[in-house]
């Protein structure tokens, strides 16, 4: 009961903060928070696969990048909500095709297949003229919604916050559904789950498609926020980022990757302003979390709860 009241309070606070932020923050600060939101959604989608279903995908940038390029290619033709839905659908279809083949393998072999698909798309993006090569696609038009132009920082912030909010709600619904429970069951013991009559591969494919779709949505929002998409959106580092975020926050929880995304974006932002060698310091922070807090930041809360309970 107390947990439910706290969750309601946190949700109300998040909605009020989202509504007030454009009045309180500068354009640069709004962009920072847009980046945080997009990465939160991306980390949640990846954690559905790795943290909850136990599927070690190293190629999620493929779906993020496909969503981003879909927006980059069609922003002048299709209004944002429709284009974001199309980006999700495209990423989901790609995930269905990749997953149908890749999920015939397991463990490290599966991870390598997904990595290879991501790298293949990255290489293709460099050589397909319509995708702009190295320079990518610049000048992405944010268009308008109900005759309200989304070019301004505040208007786009509301669109971004609404899309991420709905995305988080959808992923929470998946997490809390029977489907989500089954994913965790087959992560814990796939053999036992199979011998309860469950088609393990079909459920894994379902998780892969859902994660791909929301990775595509995150990619699409990323392209709108930056108003440019380059091959960097498909690079293998882009597949590693959300895994690091989920590890920092806590992979075994639903909310951990969101906290991890905030910490990761904030740390990279802060260090990149201080030193050109910022990646080194981000690496040290990551090592700290892996060694000292392997279950992530949210595990501190559960330790505290256990102590106060004992």
């Amino acid at each position: 009961m107390r947990a439910r009241a706290l969750a309601t309070l946190a949700l109300a606070a998040a909605i009020v903060a989202a509504l007030l932020l454009p009045r309180l923050a500068s354009g640069a600060q709004l962009f920072f928070w847009e980046t945080v939101l997009v990465q939160m959604l991306y980390a949640l989608s990846v954690n559905l696969l790795i943290g909850h279903a136990g599927i070690p995908s190293f190629g999620q940038a493929a779906f993020f990048g496909v969503g981003a390029y879909a927006v980059g290619l069609a922003s002048a033709l299709v209004p944002p909500p429709l284009l974001l839905l199309a980006a999700m659908l495209l990423a989901a279809l790609l995930a269905l095709a990749v997953g149908a083949v890749a999920l015939r393998t397991h463990g490290i072999a599966f991870a390598m297949v997904t990595l290879a698909v991501g790298q293949a798309l990255y290489t293709a993006s460099l050589h397909i003229p319509a995708l702009g090569g190295d320079n990518g696609l610049a000048g992405i038009d944010r268009g308008s919604l109900f005759a309200i132009g989304l070019g301004g920082a505040a208007a786009f912030w509301y669109l971004c916050a609404a899309c991420v909010g709905l995305g988080i709600l959808a992923l929470w619904t998946v997490h809390a559904s029977p489907f989500g429970n089954l994913l965790r069951a087959l992560r814990d013991d796939p053999l036992r789950t199979r011998f309860l009559g469950i088609d393990v591969r079909a459920y894994r494919l379902g998780a892969f498609v859902v994660a791909g779709a929301f990775g595509g949505l995150a990619g699409g929002l990323f392209a709108y926020a930056n108003q440019i998409v380059t091959p960097d959106a498909l690079a293998w580092v882009r597949s590693g980022d959300p895994i690091i975020m989920a590890l920092i926050g806590g992979m075994s929880t639903f909310w951990g990757p969101m906290l991890g995304a905030f910490v990761y974006v904030w740390v990279t932002h802060a260090f990149s302003e201080l030193t050109p060698a910022w990646i080194l310091y981000v690496g040290i922070v990551f090592l700290f979390f892996v060694i000292v807090l392997p279950k992530g930041l949210l595990s501190l809360l559960s330790v505290r709860r256990q102590r106060s309970g004992s």
């Binding site: 029977p178 069951a185 814990d188 013991d189 053999l191 036992r192 789950t193 309860l196 009559g197 469950i198």
Partner: protein
């Protein structure tokens, strides 16, 4: 009518034949033990019947239906339940939740699995826990159970699947003498009450001879003989290859 009919089953691992033209027939409602020395192919036979290991050749029929090429989850839905040599339960769930998970999975996977549990389902799981002597452990997490309790929980889960054929792979392995006696009594009472077809392997001959109606002896991937316990015990060739002389 035979519940399980295995004919001319061959399973190859490279050049080796783990099963080499094995044929076996188990009557509906029978409690059959399969014994044999290490490497005889007992575990491969179980894995092939369950669909975990593909057959290179031959047929597996369940109640007259050819299931040789069926995926494991489809065999489970058809009525094949399995308990493993090293018990497999969900360690992070409680004993009660493990039984409920099995019960709900049996009803149709994700459409009902771990949805809000109905009163009747609670009652059924509590009855199963009481029958298997696990009621006092219902709130304990699976990972905290002893080996004997884990095995009993796994049998309780298998029974929730409304199976027609129960495969028990070494059901008393790793148990203390007291736990072994309890498990033997449990399997016997379950079988007498439900008359489910049970196929079990076991290294402990006292368990085999006290439980089985008939015993199949395997050697080098083939059936050496099948018969009543006294008959098998009296066979010279069985004593030689498995039970030892004298």
């Amino acid at each position: 009518m035979s519940a399980l009919h295995v004919s001319d089953l061959v399973v190859r691992y490279g050049a080796n034949r783990a099963l080499d033209g094995l044929s076996l027939e188990v009557e509906s409602g029978e409690l059959r033990a399969v014994i044999g020395p290490n490497g005889a192919g007992k575990s491969t036979l179980f894995a092939t019947i369950a669909g975990e290991t593909p057959a290179s050749q031959g047929r597996v029929e369940l109640d007259g239906t050819d299931i040789t090429r069926w995926a494991p989850h489809l065999r489970v839905r058809r009525g094949v339940a399995r308990a493993f040599q090293v018990s497999r339960i969900f360690p992070s769930l409680t004993v009660r939740e493990n039984v409920l998970a099995a019960q709900l999975c049996a009803q149709g996977g994700s459409r009902v699995c771990w949805r809000t549990v109905l009163g009747a389902e609670h009652a059924r799981s509590e009855a199963a826990l009481a029958e298997l002597g696990l009621a006092h452990l219902a709130a304990r997490r699976g990972e905290t159970l002893s080996q004997g309790d884990r095995k009993r929980l796994e049998i309780a889960m298998a029974l929730q699947l409304e199976a027609r054929l129960l495969l028990l792979d070494e059901p008393t392995a790793g148990m203390s003498p007291r736990e072994t006696a309890q498990t033997v009594a449990l399997i016997r009472s379950l079988w007498e009450r439900t008359r489910i077809t049970i196929l079990l392997t076991e290294h402990d001959m006292s368990v085999v001879f006290s439980l089985a109606q008939r015993i199949t002896v395997m050697q080098r991937g083939r059936v050496l003989c099948t018969g009543a316990p006294e008959e098998v015990r009296g066979r010279h060739d069985v004593r030689e290859i498995y039970l030892g002389r004298g």
